[in-house]
Structure formats: C-alpha cells, structure tokens
Amino acid sequence: MLAALGAMALLVAVTVGSVSMTLSELWLAIGGGGDPLFRELVFSLRLPRALAAFATGGLLALAGALMQVLLRNPLADPYVLGISGGAAVGALASMLLGLGTAMVSGSAFAGALLSTLLVFGLAQGRGSWTPTRLLLTGVVIAAGWGAVITFMLSLSPADRLPGMLYWLMGDLSYARSPWLAWLVLIPVLIVTLPLGRSLNVLARGPLQAAALGVAVKPLAWLVYGLASLLTAVAVTTAGSVGFVGLIVPHMLRLVLGNDQRIILPASVMAGGALLTIADTLARTLMAPEQLPVGVITALLGVPTFLFLLYRSR
C-alpha cells in the first residue's frame, strides 16, 4: 500500500505544475511522442526533481528510524547529532564566497562528514560508549554549529540571505541530479533489511541484546555510520529539510507497531511520498513563487502526527 502511495506521489509530482498535463499526455511524453515541450518538462525538470524529493524523503526517514533505535530515544532525528549543522556551515560558507551549486553541495557533504567524525571521536572518549554520551556530544556540537551559522548569516550581504535561509529550511530547487541520493538509498536499505531483528533486540537495551547474541558494538557503529551517510547525502541534495526524519518513523510505529523489519522499508516509502507531495505543493501553491519544502512538510506532518498520537493507546 505504501509502495502504491509512493508511486501516486511521483505521478502527481510529474503531472502538476505551471503547465499541467493529462495522464495521456504524460504517457505520450514518456513513450517519446507528443508535445516536445511536455517531454522536456518531464525528463529534464519534473522527473529529476520528483525523484530527488522522493529519495531525500526516504533517506531522512530511514536515517531517523535508525537513529531512534540506536539512541533508544524517540526524540532522536537525523539532525540530532549535529550532522545538518556541519553541512549547513559548509554550504553557507560556499554561498558566502559566491561559489556555484556544485561547490555548495560538495562543501555541505564535507561539513556533514566532518561533524560526524567529530562526534564519533569525541563520544568515544576514554570511558565506555553510551547512547547518552553520544547524544550529549551531538547536541552540544549541533549547538556550536548553530552559533557559527547565526554568525555567518549576520555577516552575509542582503542579496545572498534569501538563498541561505531557503537552504536552511530545505529546498529542492537546486536538486538537479537525484542519482547520488538513489545510489546511496537503495544499497543502504538493502544492508539494513537483514539487521531488522537485531535492531528490535537492540531496542531493549545493550545488555539484553548482548545476552541474546547480538554483537552490540559493531552493530551500533554500523548503524551510526549508515545513518550519518544517509543524512549527509540528504542534506547535500536538498538542504536541511526538517521534520521528515523525526515524524515519519513515529507515524509508522503508531500505525504498524515497532518491528524494524517493517518500519525501515516503510519509512523509506512514506518519507519519500511525503517529501514528494510536499515539494509538489511547495512549487505549485504560490506559483510562480516557490516555498521552502521544509515549511510544507511541517504543515502537513504536524496535524497528521498529532491526530495519530491522540488516537493511539
């Protein structure tokens, strides 16, 4: 059902826009016939953007689901350990220097990796590694990045500010190529699927998991590494889109229960569908103006989540 929802979201995203088309016109365009304008529109504008939105949503929701289990904390999201902060500092620095889109993406990725390694190294410390320690290290580093971001925003010239703010809220209009996101999303999903039951056991605490035969430390580091990679790629593709990573796994847990073997793939589909729909709305609601997609994900997600939470046991 979620797969069907995902396909629907992609279909709507491709047909709706400043120039709307019917399904038959879309079919013709995909088949290589019909109006050349439509073909151009579908293949070089709407389809790449819709695919990028879907992949980014999937990356964020999967990263969020993994982080929540790893930290055994329902408040965890892909950004809680400061990855988006590092990426934002990288991206804003490139924007401040007036570099091109490719450099913005590249430095965002570099910033995300730097932040990951920093948290990884510092949380190891001298003593034993615990989720609390990792969480605290991440939160403090995120706060540090926040200060640097504010500092950079206050220094930047007025004509660059809107672009920077859009990046910070999440924006898919620069996402021209969805391939990196898909190239990371699909293998990581395939790697995490057989880990599902071990993650179910890990959710009951490291001692219990170890007693049930889980090699806790290697598993925890693997999950941390994968979640960081997912987040870094998502942030590189679309800036820091909030909310998807926190809320989508929770919504699914409220509906489907807490079996990671179901939650992980379902998060990819639901996160992808949500972000695709949100991005379609973001570029059509106030067309030709484009809204930051992060605003729409929050406006759609908050009431849905509250409704599910209110209705649940």
Binding site: R72, P74, V201, A203, R204, Q208, A211, L212, V214, A215
Partner: protein, 254 residues
C-alpha cells in the same frame, strides 16, 4: 547440556580491591544460589559469567572454550540471562518480547517459524502470561514484567540459566511457580545459577550455595553445608533465628 566453569575468576568492581578468586564448575542439573548483602558483587559476578563484563583476572569457560573466543550468538544459543533491570523505550507486546528469545537461533533473513511461535506460547503458558499476550509490556506490573523476562529466557531453551533475582517483584504463588520451573529445567539437564535475596527460597530450592562477602571473600559448597547460622549472620551482619519446617531450615531476622 553444557558446563560453565569459572577459573581463578576475579570480578572487576571499579574502586574495589580484587576479591578472592572463584574457581568452580557449574554442572548440568545443579541449582546454584548466590547469597550476599547489597553491593557484594552478585550481579557483577553473574554478568561476568555471562561474558557481558570482562573479569579483572581469570577466565570463564563454556564447555572448555574461553568466553572471549566465542561469538555472542554461539553463547546465546546455550546460555540465557534474566536481568534485574529492563529497558523498554519502545512499545512492544508480551508475545513479541517473549519471541525475541528465538533471536540467537535465526539467521538474519529468517523469520520466526511456527515452531518458534509454539515455543513462545509454551513459555507464556508456563508463566501464566497467555491472557496478557497482546498487552504492551509497558502497561504491565513489575511482577508481570518479571515473568515476561523469565518467559523470554525460557523461549531461548538454554542449557545454562543465569538469573539475577528471578523472584523479584513476584507474589508468593509466582515465586514458588518460578522456582519450580527452574527446578524442572535442572531436572531436564540445565544448569541454573541465580542470585537470591531470600534465604528461605535459597534453602528450599538450591543444591549449591555461594556466599559473597562485601570484602570480596567467598565460600561455596553443597547447600546443607553452607546454611550455617553463624556464617549467614556474618554475611548479612544481622542476627537470625532458625526454625525447621518439613525438614527445611527457615531463617527469620532477629
């Protein structure tokens, strides 16, 4: 059947001098009880025997192999641990929780089969949890959760049970039911090693006792040789009165 052996084992309790080394074999069919005051290191010993904490010195062997050379999965196929504390940060039903006892026996892609489900249902029956099977663990009482933990270990079908106060939070009826269950497990060839607070349960249900003194001193042996009132009074720093009911000694403070 499996044999757990401690060889010159000294547990690592931070900030405390090394205690007396512990060397013993826990054989199939034996029921060991560990007695000692708060903070004597009962749980630490149990975790060390389960390979969950490194010892300060010495080693623990399972069927002759040092625990550090075994993979956790191999270990979990033979040895189950019932913990004193449990975490449940995410909601899960009783049945789901009991079923994770099959984890060590399933490969990553494998799903639980009908026989796994049957084992989980038998374990829930054995601990009278069947009616609670769809309830969320977080909504249960302390005693019910304790029974869920024991049912999870039972689903693991271990050759060796390491139980940290298995009767915690349980009412009198369930205390006896759990002790009878562990007794039956031992009769069927399992080795049981448990920390206990209740001297009378230990006297009634254990055939070997290990006394852990707060200064790291220890002594162990067959239960009847260990239940000496003077030794127990020194162990707990508490005067005891001793009676006899049906041939079993009964200890009352005072």
């Amino acid at each position: 059947m499996a044999i757990l052996e401690a060889s010159n084992l000294v547990v690592d309790i931070p900030g405390r001098a090394a205690g007396q080394p512990f060397s013993a074999r826990i054989l199939p069919g034996q029921r060991w009880g560990v007695l000692g005051p708060n903070g004597a290191g009962k749980s630490t010993l149990l975790h060390t025997l389960a390979g969950l904490r490194p010892p300060r010195s010495g080693q623990v062997l399972l069927d002759g192999d040092c625990l550090t050379q075994l993979r956790r999965r191999q270990l979990a196929q033979k040895l189950a641990v019932v913990f004193q504390e449990r975490q449940d940060s995410f909601p899960a039903t009783v049945q789901e929780t009991v079923l994770i006892g099959r984890h060590p026996f399933l490969s990553p892609w494998q799903r639980e089969s009908g026989s796994d489900l049957r084992l989980a249902n038998q374990a829930m029956d054995a601990l009278s949890l069947r009616l609670l099977s769809d309830r969320l663990v977080s909504t249960l009482s302390g005693g019910e959760r304790q029974r869920v933990a024991i049912a999870t270990a039972l689903t693991q079908q271990p050759a060796i049970w390491l139980a940290d106060e298995p009767t915690n939070h349980l009412d009198l009826h369930h205390q006896v039911a759990v002790m009878e269950l562990l007794h039956r497990q031992a009769e069927q060839g399992a080795a049981v090693f448990m920390c206990l607070h209740d001297l009378n349960l230990a006297a009634r249900w254990c055939d070997h006792l290990l006394l852990l003194y707060p200064d790291g001193e220890l002594c162990f042996g067959p239960a009847e040789t260990m239940l000496v009132p003077e030794a127990l009074e020194r162990l707990y720093d508490q005067k005891l009165s001793v009676g006899q009911i049906n041939g079993v000694p009964v200890f009352v403070p005072g």
